[in-house]
Amino acid sequence: MIKKIFFQSIFFNFFFLKEVFSAESGGMPQLDPEFWISQIFWLTITFGILYVVLSKFILPKISSNLELRKSQIQENIEAAEKQRESSEAKLREYEEIILKSKIEAKNFFKNAREKVIKDINAKKEILDKQIDEEISSAEKEIETLKNVAAEKINKIAIETSSDLIKKLIGTEINNSSISAIVDDLSKKNKDKYYGS
């Protein structure tokens, strides 16, 4: 669109100018071949020199500098990558160590617990044995006491009954007949008092 307006206005200008400046030698100076050869000659020389100097001296410098920078950046990136890897490896090592020590601590704890439990058990056994012994000795004593108690009771019963009879009747009675009666009674009532 802009181009269209451009060219339209140019053509309009040409038309317009031809009328206004008709006194001057009109037309486009570009189409005048007077200096064509000169322009071709100088273009060849300047562009040729420009091309040679640029391609031989300047562009290689720029390109080598760009390459150098690129390789430098690449190297730096690689170095950074390497360091990152090494730090990652170290981190992994550290984590491994922590894991190991955790397991060790757990083992220690477990061992200690087992030992303590064993100790407790052993002491408990010993105590149980002692308690059993004491119980059995106490039971024995009770048994002997039980046996002795019957005889003693018999004796006491004979003495008291002889005393009672003496006080009631006023005459002494032969101990042996009393004891025969007490024995008989105690034998009869033994089951009642002591159980079987």
Binding site: S38, T46, L59, K61
Partner: protein, 244 residues
Amino acid sequence: MAANPMNQFEVYRIGPEIKIGTLDISFTNASLFMIISSIAILLIFNWGSKKRSMIPSKIQLLTELSYSFVSKMISDTAGSKAKPYFAFIFSLFMFVLFCNMFGMIPYTFTVTSHIIVTFMLAAFIFIGVTIIGFIRHGFGYLKLFVPSGVPIVLLPLIVVIEIISYLSRPISLSVRLFANMMAGHTMMKVFGGFVVSLGIVGGWLPLSFSVALTGLEILVAFLQAYVFAILTCIYLNDALNLHH
């Protein structure tokens, strides 16, 4: 009269007339601006590539950016085979760009606004590309004119059209640059003339338009250099990688 907008394209002799045989190769204002452009390019790029520091200075960054810009342009359009022609396309792009840009300074001469200059560049490119194509592919390069997948009935017509379009490449390439430069500069001159003739009262409108046109022309100056270079790359691509 200086108000004639075509006067700025006048070529005139500077210094004595130089002749080789019957050929007039006098030093003219066109030659002067060709030399100025070339020297400016060489100075800037020499300055920018001298220090070669790892962290580039501004001027070095400029040269490196333009290097990678052209390099990317070539590798995108013509592939890696075009690497040997990098220097040529780079100097072509820079030459056209600097000639266009120097033309934007008032009272200067625009080298690329002359059809003979652009046509010489285009013709050189055309001939060079054709030679490269024939060296690379021999007579197989003629397959360029026979696109694949065309019905046999249409083939004669297509081949004729392809040949005409191929032969008109230097003309279209040169006329594009030349016409753009000439049109823009003529427009600016015409609007400048309007500013003078309309005076203090009505001159502001063409003046503002002229300012806007200057911006547009700077854009066009860059764009046409870019188009010139990228079309060269495309023609080179046809010659290097024959896939039609």
